[in-house]
Symmetry: C2
Subunit: 306 residues, 2 copies
């Protein structure tokens, strides 16, 4: 059913699904992501990776609920929400939903326009803030995200191209808990995008196939393309790049991450832990307040951030 060049092996349906479960179990074990009995909150987007992540964690026996954020990115958000809801309801799972516009008075396109920053910036800040808050409020030990090997390798490639030593110091499949912040884990780091698409198809999971329209043309996708060209020439190169970084390089950048930790105080607006002043999420809420929703438009191509 599926041929994996990097493993020099072909799989039938059942063995492929077992292969995926084994890879997730191995990642969890290898990086001490989860302990038995911990409650996991899965960040669900309606795409193949987050739904497969949820599915695989439950298949491995973990107690995992989902959280879906309505980002207000036009039809993309409408459709992705429908896929997330359908997955949960068909399986009788608990899916919490938070709608940025309904609950916080803004959406990603509007926040991007108001803050004059790329949409991925407001989107990332909102996701981090709301997943952290939901985990605290719901008593979850861990937030799990569907970042796969292609995602992590592409982020690593970007960080290496700039030799961004702070980001390199933090790029791990597990981000330990800090006071007020749950642990963050990426159980799919040993599995590729293509493998996750195959997992969903073979498991009967329907997902939104389109990429986020606001991310089209961004550098992350260009980094993926570059690594895919290398992978086509040398199967296994992508996995070796990511695993080699963790094994032989990550610690060399870790010094900076071990510096004095900033003291956290409660955000005067929402109460979330922050390094002082109003937290980044509440600043977006404030700046977006009262603005009419902005229409979704494709990201400016080739934009440059310093």
């Amino acid at each position: 059913m599926i041929d994996l060049a990097r493993h020099n092996a072909g799989f039938c349906r059942d063995h492929f699904l077992r292969f995926c479960r084994d890879q997730v179990a191995k990642a969890i074990d290898e990086h001490a992501m989860l302990e038995p009995g911990e409650r996991v909150l899965v960040a669900v987007s309606g795409g193949k990776d987050s739904l497969a992540c949820w599915d695989l964690l439950r298949a491995l026996g973990y107690e995992a609920d989902g959280l879906y954020l309505g980002l207000g990115i036009g039809e993309y958000s409408d459709e992705s929400g429908a896929f997330a809801r359908a997955y949960a309801s068909e399986r009788g799972l608990r899916l919490t939903e938070i709608d940025l516009r309904a609950h916080h008075g803004f959406d990603v396109p509007t926040a991007a326009a108001v803050t004059h920053r790329v949409p991925c910036s407001a989107c990332g800040i909102s996701k981090r803030h709301l997943f952290d808050a939901a985990a605290r409020d719901g008593g979850y030990d861990v937030v799990a995200t569907g970042h796969n090997l292609d995602d992590e390798a592409a982020v690593l490639f970007g960080n290496v191209l700039r030799w961004d030593t702070e980001y390199l110091a933090r790029q791990r499949p597990v981000l330990p808990a800090r006071p007020g912040f749950p642990r963050k884990v990426k159980p799919l780091v040993r599995l590729t995008e293509r493998e996750m698409a195959a997992y969903c198809v073979l498991s009967g999971i329907d997902y939104i196939v389109e990429e986020c329209p606001m991310a089209v043309g961004n550098k992350h996708l260009a980094y993926k393309d570059a690594l895919n060209a290398i992978e086509a020439m040398s199967p296994g190169a992508k996995a070796a790049f990511y695993a080699g970084f963790l094994a032989r390089a990550a610690d060399r950048f870790a010094v900076e991450g071990g510096g004095p930790t900033e003291e956290l105080v409660a955000c005067p607006s929402c109460g979330a832990p922050t390094t002082g002043e109003v937290c980044a999420f509440c600043r977006i809420v404030e700046r977006s307040a009262g603005h009419e929703p902005v229409a979704v438009r494709a990201t400016r191509r080739g934009r440059r951030r310093s």
Copy 2:
């Protein structure tokens, strides 16, 4: 005459040539490559980079002679040798020539076939050995090679993809002298392939345009392609990748390079310093001895080395 996106500038002929000289002067200064009065031996292949390197060093007032190796790679070697000879004779410069077949009884295609390794392996060993020996015998302080920014960035990319910490520890634009080995410098690390082609055209330097036929399809060229795609999206990314490595990462890998240095003894066959036994070059000479020349053939595409 030439537009450089990464510098966001256009140049006329004279200013472009000055720009190239300034970049070489800056690289020499920044990395302490050369002292005034030192004698430089330039590794000349007949290609744009090595001829431009020789030309630029002389334009900056350095005493630089050339050394050309006849590698026996069919028409490619015949033609590249003719370009090297023409450059030197038209300018009254000293060019030494060593022919692998005539002087050492083998050529690169034959050595590759006999050793069952990729041709770039025997070629690299031969170049290092013969340039070191020629520098010792000729009383040169330094060997200069024409590696440009594209070359160094592609090698760095390959080393990073594998997180080859030993190679990362050694990848510098200057390799200090060791007993028996001259200093090695790469004066073109601030200039790109395209800039070196333009330099030759605008300076009236004729060079062999073809790539080495044995290198076609190798990984190095695929790494260049990948970085060129990134550069097209983000002008300056390639230079930032290489400069950022030297500034913020190289030292983090240097520990391994500072370990106990192996003791060198004289090769019993040729007298060159080696870590013991017969040196790598003399082993190729021995194994190739008496073999009929092998015809040049294109490199196996997509070959894999462990």
